[in-house]
């Protein structure tokens, strides 16, 4: 590298089509599968493998490194998206006749190109709402003792294996009364219920929560907030909203850096393998009989008693309609994996917890698209296929 003169005008950048990179990723996936196949070949049984094992170790290391490098190839800086958004904000300034300062932070945060491409529309939607409804007009701002120019902060940062993107304005904030009134009318809350702000704000993402009626920061024209929500589901992301009346609104998006690889634990129930993202697993228990409860009065619901709390048990075979409820059902499998979900913890019984590994994710297409509560298929190092569970949808489905 030092041989490179610093004055070189050649930046060393090469344009490569994302198609080629996808092909490379596929090949790397196949490579690691076929290495694994070779290493576990039954022909090797009974042979003296001392030097073979050393070579395998080196080979495995190299394959893993190639995998990491290939993943990195697809990472682009968030700036690519932010720059396009900056142009849109100038356009919004003209349309709304408001003065807007856009502050961008963390533009160098790396994110999978496939994810970045899908982020532009939802982010534009949030920005447009902030500019259109969040920020006040010049006179209103001055009357409220704020600076003449409205500010929108667009910030990205990496938190663990997630990228957090914040869109924050210093406008008038969400109209709690109006949103709560509509939410009550729609039956999200009882007439006396006073939900926590973070719980209340979540309803604006509910499909069917007509944004047209909400006269506030997050009301939308054109694309609704529920579309943003749908994009987030597709990207395995989460949204959080925080707002203070008079002081503005903050929308935070949490998205995995890459959609291609996922850190999972592998579970087996009967002959079927499942994979679960490691960050939703809170605990693995091997309960005694006394710690399991059966409630016939509540549709044969089963509960796990864990340190004083009751956690609903969701049997995967029943969820997927492959076993009978109630009488004559098999005893609960020996191991319960407890997951954290937005609707509280759930416990899933499995026969075996296999191991933890980085899996290659494949989308469910064609015939497989109808599988419920799944993010996709995971290709394991052994060449086997596991279904990646979406615990949020499992919990939501089981609650019904």
């Amino acid at each position: 590298m030092s041989a490179q003169p610093e004055t070189s005008t050649d930046t060393g950048l090469v344009r490569v089509s994302s198609e080629k990179i996808s092909r490379l990723m596929d090949l790397v996936g196949e490579l690691s599968l076929s290495v694994s196949e070779t290493v576990h070949s039954p022909d090797l049984q009974g042979l003296d493998l001392a030097s073979f094992d050393a070579a395998v170790h080196r080979l495995t290391m190299i394959v893993r490194e190639v995998q990491d490098v290939a993943t990195e190839l697809r990472l682009v800086p968030m700036d690519d998206v932010f720059k396009r958004l900056r142009r849109m904000v100038r356009e919004l300034e003209r349309q709304t006749k408001k003065k807007i300062d856009l502050v961008i932070e963390g533009g160098d945060t790396a994110i999978d190109k496939l994810v970045a491409d899908k982020l532009y529309d939802p982010l534009l939607h949030v920005l447009r709402n902030a500019a259109d409804h969040g920020l006040e007009g010049t006179e209103e701002r001055i009357a409220a003792g704020k600076g003449e120019r409205g500010q929108i902060r667009l910030a990205a940062s990496q938190v663990g294996s997630e990228v957090r993107i914040i869109v924050e304005d210093d406008g008038r904030g969400l109209a709690r009364d109006k949103i709560l009134a509509i939410a009550r009318k729609r039956g999200f809350f009882g007439p006396e219920e006073e939900p926590e702000p973070s719980v209340l704000w979540r309803v604006i993402f509910e499909p069917g929560f007509s944004t047209a009626e909400v006269v506030s920061n997050l009301s939308g024209r054109g694309v609704g907030m529920d579309v943003l929500n749908a994009t987030m589901v597709a990207l395995r992301g989460r949204i959080a909203v925080d707002s203070t009346a008079g002081n503005g609104t903050r929308v935070s998006l949490f998205i995995p850096v890459s959609l291609a690889f996922l850190d999972c634990i592998i579970l087996r129930l009967g002959a079927t393998l499942f994979a679960v993202p490691i960050d939703v697993v809170s605990e693995i228990a091997r309960p005694d009989r006394e710690e399991l409860m059966h409630v016939s009065a509540d549709q044969n619901r089963e509960l796990l008693k864990l340190r004083g709390t009751m956690i609903p048990i969701v049997r995967l075979d029943e969820f997927f309609n492959e076993a009978t409820h109630g009488e004559g059902r098999k005893p609960v499998p020996p191991i319960l994996v407890v997951f954290n979900t937005a609707t509280g913890p759930i416990a899933i019984p499995v026969d075996e917890v296999l191991d933890r590994q980085q899996v290659v994710m494949k989308p469910l297409v064609g015939k497989l698209a109808s599988v419920r509560a799944s993010w996709g298929c995971a290709l394991l190092g052994t060449g086997e296929v596991a279904l990646v569970l979406d615990c949020e949808r499992l919990a939501a489905g089981a609650a019904k």
Partner: protein, 176 residues
Amino acid sequence: MTEAAQLTEDALNAAAARGDAAFADADNVDDMYLTFALADEEYGVGIGVVTEIVGMQRIMSVPDMPHYVKGVINLRGKVIPLMDARLRFGMEERPYDDRTVVIVMDVADALIGLIVDGVSEVLEIPPSQVDAHGQFGKGGRSVISGIGKIGERVSILLDVQVLVSDSDISLPADML
């Protein structure tokens, strides 16, 4: 390579050779059908949707699928659902043997594998030899697009779009 796959390879190679000849006659691939056996019946699918034919692979089960989808296979890094043709048509299930093959098809941009008793050959059946009057299927679109006749032989040609859909396609028992 299993015996079945080898047979298949031969069938396809022969087909390719015949295909070249067909091209010389300015015919096209639309008239070419891959025929396969189910019990003592012969079926055919348009060769255009077939991407490859592989021997039986290790099937991994996937929940939430109709009973005729046996699971998925990992074919060189691609996850492909397998549909058992016998179960799809309400026929008796049969253990897989070394003649059992999987016909991998690309239908509506998604791959799907069809488990059949064995592939026969690739035939050219011109439209004039296909009887396509709609006497099959009770209402709706039939899984059968027509009956192909080649000399004494009869091949039931399938509409793969309907085949891979979720629609109920129980066939009349006295069909042939």
